[in-house]
Symmetry: C3
Subunit: 363 residues, 3 copies
């Protein structure tokens, strides 16, 4: 689909200079852009690329001379990365899921499917499921009994939604995401070695290993509006109350959200993050890749944890964390610098000991 | 399904006080309990919640006065968390997989399906597969040729079982678990840089990177009885001998068990754990989330590793571990406390050096 | 299928001693080998196992006396692990995917399927897809519109390939691998707290959390020849340009490759590795399990990172890394040894301080 450049400018709230009647059909890096691509050249380092590619129009850095760069038109935006959101949204053709319900889909007669829904081949939709309007559900998805899903959702291929899960509007699930699996919740008849070790910080005492008895997950999952869940990511059902993910959370591939977790609004979790059972996370938290958060703790609002951080205890609001165990980022940097000097320090202390034990020798 | 409270009491070996003829249909936290829910109020902190909710019966902490709390009946149990297993098992309606084999399932004529099995839509079951009695197999599962699966198993949607995998009774697979994928096992024609680096602890010498040649996985997987595997978890096939998971292991979402690993009985592995190739893990080990265990090592019985621990070498039985590299938990705590003081220590040593080099100055 | 031992010898470039007409049908560890198995006894520690098993032929360590070990024939190879690749390739029956296109597969009429392709039950293949010759595509795979896949590929059950993804020849995808999901790419209208924290190493200043706006992934994925991708592994689509994986890369289960990443030739990535957005990794890198690599950095050729390493900044070619943050392996070993002595060091410095402050007392 082609867009006039002046329409793109309006959509992005961008300043247009030059020929607004140009039509663009895609976006590209400057050096590889074709004649119908809008080149994305938001900093001066892309100037050379523009001369290599064939773009006639570009989004440029403030102050750039588009004529001198050989362009016929240019857009200028105050926050280039934000403009990228608008450009890519305009140009994304989206997944091709034919309108209507595919003849192979197995849908329980009691399920209520909203207006204008597209449901792909081999989907399985259970008893008393309710799905909102304009749903786009790709092939091979399964939705368990009594699940509720809002309007305008997009489920990519192989999404698994368990029984009694409730999801808001505009939810996006990447392929093979799993919502509502049973939590890992087991108990031994007597106090277990691991309970003992946690209570004593390492002493398992007389506790003996025992077989595990299953605690079933009755609580399902409640997800708000505008949530996105990555490929192969997992959100487990709660035990008694639901696991909760609030509005606006964006969750990456292979993330694990355990049973009973409560995640606040607008959190951003990068790939391979794990949040253990019953932990509560505040609003607007951002966790880098492979961050781990212990069970049964509380993380305040606006906490940022850089990639690989392991959060082992409660965190007050606003903290920026790093390390294993997690500490404030500046503390981590200070400790780490000292650590690099530690091997030399050992030698220095030896020298001091020698000097002090033989006071005369150092004179 | 409704249960009489006196029947619940018997099932849980709980002490009943009050009206045993009350009927309950669910379990809930005290504040949100409805009139037919059994409130779970196992410690005094839930007292206030009871007054907010509508429960007529509850499981209470020892010594609680159920009449004063406005209840008509109460259960008392010696180990509340263990009672939770019984309560949730009674109240779990389980997944709805209609009895019999769905008409869309593609089942090889040579496959033997046990009595009373339920097989969902779009399942694919290969040549000479044998499945025990009472199997519940949800939609979209695939089972490779010659696989053997025991009685009373539950495979959630999208479970993938490879050829020649053997699994015991009462196995539960959460959605999209994969058993019997090929292991990551590759070799170069000449000694590779990584082999060289491991032998020398960091020196790659003259070794050159080369293309990788595949070692095929012929060994499949053998899983015992009463094992549970989480959503999107993976257990790879062994190279020559099978990868083995013994009875009673409970494995969480997104866990990776590599080729040739042997996991002892009743191990509990939390989400995102990775156990590398050919490593043997003893009985009753408990690994927290994101624990990693190196390849070709041995971990003894009853080892506990807290979340995020990286186990890089053999571990004797009974150890409680923490850290990267893993050390005994109390050692880790001691090192970590010292580490927090390290930046100050550097300054103190500088001061000492000054004092010692100019003895007169400190007097 | 049975193989004559002299044929196996030729295939492996092995030296044969004894009866080359023996037929073998499998490979096994010495102690459990049957009469038709080739025992794999590549070091003297397997000698005892040979006497317990029933093998008539074995691959032996150089210098072994096969007659004394009770064998009728033996193979000797210069690099046993490399021979294992050849043996297992000969003996692997491969997955059973019946020839031709299964009647239940849903294939868009515009898709071009190469000669001699096998496509399993319930596959869904989109508009204008092109698949090369001899493809083996197991059950439940989905391939998005305009995707291109080379010759001789093997897609195990449940593989998900997104729109416009391009993949070379001899690609292998283990079950439920996902190629071409949307990247986790979001932006706030104003500077976000996390941008602020990265710029200042920890100070979020006045930045306020805001709702996330989606940047769509238009760039798809380009994968070279001879690449293998593990079970439940994920390779996300690029934003504008494609995410790239070069020839010969072998990627394990549950690995995450984020949007815009470029991975060089012949890299080997073990399970649960995460590589964050826009990072470039050179040729022939080897990353152990759970390694993490930050976004927007550059890792040179031939870098090796041991399991659990977190790479937070650019790495020159040839480095062998360990730790969080990653440092050279020998530096890590040195720091770690010093760290073990740190608690004692604190006491020693206290003693020194005491001695220095009271010079007379230590005499």
């Amino acid at each position: 689909m082609m867009h006039r450049l002046d329409e793109v400018a309006t959509a992005l709230s961008a300043r247009l200079e030059g020929d607004g009647s140009l039509k663009i059909g895609g976006a590209a890096e400057p050096a590889t852009a074709g004649a119908q691509d809008l080149a994305l050249a938001m900093s001066p380092k892309f100037a050379e690329g523009l001369s290599q590619g064939q773009a006639r129009a570009a989004i440029l850095w403030e102050g750039a001379d588009w004529r001198a760069l050989g362009l016929e038109a240019a857009l200028f935006v105050p926050r280039p990365r934000y403009a990228l959101a608008g450009v890519t949204a305009m140009l994304d053709p989206g997944p091709e899921i034919p309108a209507g319900v595919h003849s192979t889909a197995v849908i329980d007669p009691s399920a209520q499917i909203g207006a204008n829904a597209s449901i792909g081949p081999f989907c399985v939709i259970g008893r008393d499921v309710r799905i909102g309007a304009n749903a786009r559900i790709a092939a091979h998805c399964s939705i368990g009994s009594e699940a509720r899903i809002g309007d305008d959702v997009l489920l990519h291929a192989g999404t698994r939604i368990g029984a009694r899960v409730a999801i808001g509007d505009r939810f996006i699930a990447q392929p093979s995401a799993v919502i509502g699996a049973d939590g890992l919740s087991f108990v031994t008849p007597e106090t277990s070695a691991v309970e003992q070790a946690r209570a004593t910080l390492g002493d398992t005492g007389d506790a003996k290993g025992q077989a595990w008895t299953r605690i079933h997950s009755l609580g399902a999952v409640v997800i708000g509006d505008d949530v996105e869940l990555g490929a192969n990511a997992c959100v487990d059902s709660g035990t008694i109350r639901p696991t909760r993910i609030a509005d606006g959370c964006k969750i990456d591939n292979l993330v694990h959200i355990a049973h009973n977790v409560e995640l606040g609004e607008h959190c951003l979790l990068a790939a391979l993050v794990g949040i253990a059972g019953s932990t509560r996370v505040g609003n607007r938290c951002v966790f880098g890749g492979q961050v781990g958060v212990s069970d049964n703790i509380f993380v305040g609002d606006d906490v940022i944890a850089s990639g690989g951080t392991k959060v082992l205890s409660n965190v007050p609001a606003g903290r920026v964390l790093m390390g294993y165990p997690a500490v404030k980022m500046d503390t981590h940097v200070e400790i780490y610098k000292a650590l690099r000097r530690l091997p030399r320090l050992l030698g220095e202390v030896r020298a001091l000991q020698k000097a002090v034990s033989k006071p005369g020798a150092s004179d």
